[in-house]
Symmetry: C3
Subunit: 238 residues, 3 copies
């Protein structure tokens, strides 16, 4: 019989890179099994894979990975948005990257874990719902593939739950600045049935940032109006 | 850096109408942004929108909105059923209505919030699962669009979770009274992968009510047989 | 007004068979309503139905039902995998079987409940995620239909959440033994948006068992590396 307490919390597996807030784990596989790789349907270019996977959060981790890919010679192979958030109304994430060099892939995951901790400063979780915000001055490959961001342009993201809060945030953001909608998602469209309205926007950096900040102010006011103050699993940075 | 505690729980935004049980928020937008409206794919007839959105419950809020629309000059534009219930096995809801007159829309949302509190009396949540019941003597536009109810006829609804409880409730209800099935839903069919069997029924008012009451009795007996008594976020009214 | 506390936890309904861990209920319907049976779309061969339904777990209960069907003259009619696990990142289950003889169906459900308790010994739930394992030396009808198992051959199953853990488990299992992948699932493929990578495997009994045990060791090390030890709702038996 297995005795789980004989296993240390200090993992020595070569695959283990580290953990971050929001139940995030970072892993690498240096030479993935060929049969499994085929089933994964991510091409056969790389056998060194990097994995970032969280119970809570999507935009923060995707933005973290976007920056991590810029800093390394790695490529996005797939991303999934499970319906999770540990009982809350949003997504988790499962991101797979590949590279020729396992140390490069490992470095990308290290960077992504560090930035996940940073980006978690813009996740707000109350008893009633949650808000998530993301911003990048310079969208890379991950944000292009995940949200239709325009390469090299500023990217903004916000999600509100219960969903109606997200729509009012969206309306304010669109009126606050001259930005373009690149993704619009609801419980039925583009999400995994999460209880969110989500908007991703593109445009001039200062306009995108102004829109995200306006969405944040409105979202916080409405979420707090539901009766409790949100907890923040990091330090707000926007 | 944003200080969330500088924001009051007494929201003064013009969009904020109020809250209700089951983490429900009611909002209005008096002149929605045109670009956003286009993305919403709900037509361009109205720029005054009303929003009702909850973490938990679907039939209660849809029935509340059904009554709210009868009392006002407003129209159902969309409804979504996120997979939510704050860690339980059911749905939340996100309902959008429209009207020419923002005060009419606001009034509809006020009525819907009040009736959401009332209808929550037929939601039963135990440690193991949940039950939800709804009844209308006179189905309107919302119940027609959401569940295929027959306009002006009596409408009944019940959901049981874990799903098997819902099927036994359905069997008893169908044998108890001469009613017609208008919606049958399971984790794979018609739900957002919720852990429920759901039946919506139509027919003579007394038959529909008898069927719902029989479903409730059976459902409560089976849910309680799982070991704990349910909590009720309101006062049972059926 | 209904008084829920007037209802006993000792259910005397003829439909009630019993309960098991993981919020599992077992039920039988001796003569299902004809109209309801038609909506269920499971054929009209049987009017005696057996139901097994849980908030948490899928492979354990499907494997339990697989054994239960071998011991009785009953047949699998449908199975659903709701997105549930009471706030965790996996599935619940809702399984419907049929038989000519209601006592046979009842016996199948009794066996399935008992084996559900046993199989729950291979479910590991921590603060951060969960793991599930299943093994059968001799796959029957249920495992064939649910996971593409080969009739009469050994069957192995494992799921890891957050999803990335499941992929590393899969990689190790495939390298540990000569087995064949029969199902590969991710949050986007084959699941109800659960936060898992799942592998089901077939092959020689000792190879399948070795692969499952390797997956368990790796999965436990990675899950525990996230900071907390898992709870086990039974006694590990593999």
């Amino acid at each position: 019989m297995v005795d789980v307490h004989s296993i240390s919390t200090h993992c020595t597996r070569t695959e283990f890179v580290g953990i971050a807030v929001l139940d995030t784990i970072g892993l690498v596989i240096s030479g993935i099994d060929e049969t499994l790789l085929e089933k994964m349907n991510i091409g056969k270019k790389y056998r060194a894979l990097g994995l970032l996977s969280s119970r809570t959060g999507a935009a923060g981790q995707l933005t973290a990975m976007d920056d991590a890919l810029k800093a390394t010679n790695t490529e996005l192979l797939s991303f999934d948005l499970p319906r999770d958030t540990k009982g809350w109304g949003g997504h988790g994430n499962y991101i797979v990257i590949g590279g020729q060099d396992v140390s490069d892939v490992r470095h990308a995951i290290e960077v992504a874990l560090e930035l996940t901790n940073r980006n978690a400063g813009e996740v707000y979780i109350s008893e009633s719902g949650h808000l998530e915000f993301a911003y990048s001055a310079n969208a890379g490959e991950v944000l292009v593939k995940a949200f239709g961001a325009k390469p090299g342009q500023a990217f903004g993201f916000f999600a509100g739950s219960p969903a109606a809060i997200g729509l009012v945030m969206s309306d304010h953001a669109m009126k606050a600045a001259d930005v373009e909608i690149i993704s619009y998602m609801t419980p039925s469209i583009g999400t995994s049935h999460s209880n969110e309205v989500i908007l991703a926007i593109s445009g001039d950096a200062s306009a995108v940032k102004a829109a995200v900040l306006e969405a944040r102010q409105v979202g916080l006011e409405l979420l707090i109006a539901m009766g409790t103050y949100p907890e923040i699993p990091g330090t707000p940075y926007l």
